[in-house]
Amino acid sequence: MKRIVYREWRVPPARYWSLLGILASVIGVAALAFAYMEHEGHWVTGMSNSVVWGVPHVFAVFLIISASGALNVASIGTVFRKPLYKPLGRLSGLLAAALLVGGLLVLVLDLGRPERLVVAMTTYNFRSIFAWNIFLYTGFMAIVIAYLWSMADRKGDPYNRAIGIVATFWRLALTTGTGAIFGFLVARQAYDAAILAPMFVVMSFAYGLAIYMLVLMFSFKEDDRPIGNRILFRLRNLLGIFVLSVFYFTLVYHLTKLYGAKNYDLVGWLLLDGGIYTFLFWVGWVLIGGLIPLGIIYHPIHGRDRNWIAAACGLVIVGGLSSLYVIIIGSQAYPIQMFPGQTILESGFFDGVQGAASSYSPRIPEVLLGFGGVAVALLVTAVGVRVLQFLPESLADEVMPPDEEASGRAAVGAQA
């Protein structure tokens, strides 16, 4: 084992600046989209009084939970004492901060009165889980910055583990809180389930790791830095476990709902009869986000191929966006059950006449805003790795530390 050396990302300037240019133009277009929505009002979006949170929230929540998921890699290294993961820690912290910035931007720019952000930061209602989340997000940012310092600065090293432990608990609180934003809503049948909180935690593991792996593989490939199979396969196996865990929680969520007679209609609608939501559940969430990646990860040949692994990560991300689309938007589209045992014949406000779901189709500006958040996260990451020493020179097998702190290679694979 050698000392791990971190170096700035040294891709050729032309390549670096064109990457930055692409990201900046996506951000620019998103800024225009925001200006348009802010100027006109939300009528230019697909959101309505029935489906009040739309695609921007899908992106925002996806980025926010992925942020805490991306930090896992660092946590495994410091908190769970896996030296093998230590060289990955800095990028993990950077990516976590960047994804959070991207997600929060989308969330904030979709507000009806974004210029009143200062009100949100100064006036709190502590009964609101949403207000708690504001603290969880800002605190997360501060802790991640401290964490990065403790990883990068020799003086910070003694505090590294302590900060790492705080960060781990904080990120768990953050995703629990984000899940609770939905899980605590008693009004809407599909939300009202505490299991959404741990489910969001597990989803964050999977989606954050998938993003992390893609960024790692892309940045190393561009800069001709080696990644050894040892670490790559460890990450791949971990992703497999996380995707399986998402499946497990999805199953339990539906079983929970299915057990009560009052939810028969809801589950029936979601799984069989919900149009785009049914499609996104089965094809997006289950097939693309679950079965296919698992097939790749555990395939004896494809599972060892880097392109296939990258494809699996990409599919998990697509599946993640689909799952949040179903959870966030589908749950709103399903009519609120105000009158159990009654059928609504007529309504002046789309109360689910004859059980009909509310319609929602995203408009271009809100989709662009979502992409803008992704681009901001990637831009922050790209600039970060370029100007500071986030990326190790090499993750080749021979330079990597042992898997376990004391007992050498005895526990290979125990993690997975």
């Binding site: 006109e40 009002g41 949170w53 009806g112 009004a187």
Partner: protein, 265 residues
């Protein structure tokens, strides 16, 4: 009823500073008032409110669905006129079907049929003014609040337009203002980017009027299906009627103790 319960706004029981003001006004009325300007002249009728509302009253509605006529929309039209919702215009370029779902609706009619018995019920549905409103719990800034007299309101000055209250409301009672507004009524400020809902005609409460626009309209239409009043006063018409009629809350299972009660279904 109003006299009984708003007596604290009447001349007899004003706060400690009020009597000074009034004696002053009596002696120095007219021109000098312009200079020192304590400003408040009490009216024998319940005029504009001078003291903060208290929890001595709790405003509420009782809807007798048996009297709510199929096809009648008097309450909705009255509400729209009262609160300037009839001044909403579809933005040019908006798709009509989507706009229908984006414009503000404070009260709507719902027609139900019992799946087992086939019995049909009509009722108006609006903010239920819960004692424990979920919208107030979830609002991150505290803009969504319950006034001491039980009215659930949005303080548009601190509403950031996050719409979490709309996610949390079990009655889908709230609307988000999706478009730029320019022709508001003086008594009902409303504008782009904030959430709003039925205020139980809060301006009428504060100027000491008897009832709400929907109640008046329902009465004028000859149905008298809605009664407005103080749920805390056992002598009030609404309480007397509630004592006679079997009534229920919508989503009683949530134990929100709604201020709007329904009878007859």
């Amino acid at each position: 009823m109003t006299d009984h319960h708003e007596s604290n706004t009447g001349p007899a029981e004003c706060g400690p500073s009020q009597p000074d003001r009034r004696t002053f006004m009596a002696t120095a009325a007219g021109v000098t008032a312009a200079l020192v300007a304590p400003g408040v002249i009490m009216h024998s009728v319940a005029g504009p409110r001078t003291e903060a509302v208290t929890s001595d009253v709790r405003w509420g509605l009782l809807v007798d669905t048996a009297k709510c006529a199929d096809g009648c929309s008097a309450c909705i039209e009255a509400c729209d006129r009262e609160n300037g919702l009839d001044l909403q215009t579809q933005p040019s370029g908006a798709q009509p079907t989507r706009w229908e779902n984006q414009k503000s609706v404070w009260i709507r009619k719902v027609k139900l049929q019992d799946n087992q018995t086939g019995r049909v019920t009509n009722l108006p549905l609006m903010c239920q003014h819960c004692e424990h409103p979920p919208c107030v719990d979830v609002c991150p800034t505290g803009a969504s609040f319950k006034r001491a007299d039980g009215i659930v309101l949005v303080d548009r000055h601190t509403c950031i337009g996050c719409r979490y209250c709309m996610m949390a409301c079990p009655y889908k009672a709230r609307s988000f203002v999706h478009e730029v507004m320019s022709n508001q009524l003086t008594r009902v400020p409303r504008g782009k980017g904030c959430v709003e809902s039925c205020t139980l005609c809060v301006h009428r409460r504060d100027y000491g009027e008897e009832s709400t626009a929907c109640v008046d309209a329902c009465q004028a239409a000859g149905h008298e299906a809605i009664i407005f009043g103080d749920l805390k006063d056992p002598e009030s018409p609404i309480r007397m009627r509630l004592a006679e009629l079997a009534s229920r809350q919508i989503r009683e299972d949530l134990a929100l103790n709604t201020g709007v009660r329904y009878a007859g279904f």
